[in-house]
Subunit: 145 residues, 2 copies
């Protein structure tokens, strides 16, 4: 029933569960699993941590991207272990919820899976969690695990 | 993968979609589909519509319950049309999100499905939607359609 399942991962325990549900649904549907990790660009990170002003913003962006690549590679391992047969991994920079929803729309995802609590728990407490924002913005069903 | 799927229905277009997804997942999983409509007790309704003070609260509760029965019976029709093979319908009084989550826990639901926008849209706008509250409170995965 779901032909293109997007799982957003941030390395948290919740996102491991998200990948496992995604892998099961992918096998049942014989669809495709897309794993996405979103990293914040320097300007966004700086806005949310106003005391940070590194001398070389580019280096920080690169470090964030490298970390995101590690996170999504770990998720590929989880997907493989959970028996997913058709999956690809992506890394994008931007505001998490908006980037997840936009990526899903661009790739024709008919289901987005997110953990109920991710790494950004404090921010979620203050501003509303990424999972809430994704369910509000997405045009397709969203599974919160 | 989901052995007991709880679908919350309130008669909105979103809850029809929720029943259809529930019916498909029920067939794939060969599990059980539970359809639940929650009606507000008079005291809660009165609290949310402070000008209402009917002469006979009991009559109002009965009317709300009767309406909820009609809503859930309509949902049974949707489930049947969508090919669900194993489903039951329930009506409960109480605060919507808490009642949905409590009912799910009591019945061992391993998935709750809700529409992203239900009948109580205005309240959702002011206080946070039922779907957001359910995803926050539930101990099992929640599919928002």
């Amino acid at each position: 029933m779901f032909k293109s399942i997007l799982v957003a991962v941030d390395g948290s325990e919740g996102s491991k569960k998200a990948v496992e549900y995604g892998a099961q649904l992918q096998q049942m549907s014989e669809g495709e699993l897309l794993l996405l990790t979103v990293f914040r660009h320097h300007s966004l990170l700086e806005a949310s941590m106003s005391m940070v002003r590194p001398s070389d913003p580019q280096t920080l962006d690169d470090a964030m991207r490298d970390h995101a690549k590690e996170v999504v590679n770990e998720a590929k391992g989880w997907a493989r272990e959970a028996g997913a047969t058709n999956f690809r991994a992506f890394v994008k920079g931007g505001q998490p919820a908006r980037t997840i929803v936009k990526f899903g729309a661009e790739h024709g995802a008919d289901l987005i899976i997110v953990g109920s609590r991710g790494i950004g728990d404090l921010e979620g407490f203050l501003l509303g969690s990424v999972s809430h924002k994704v369910t509000s913005l997405a045009r397709c069903p969203v599974l919160v695990v």
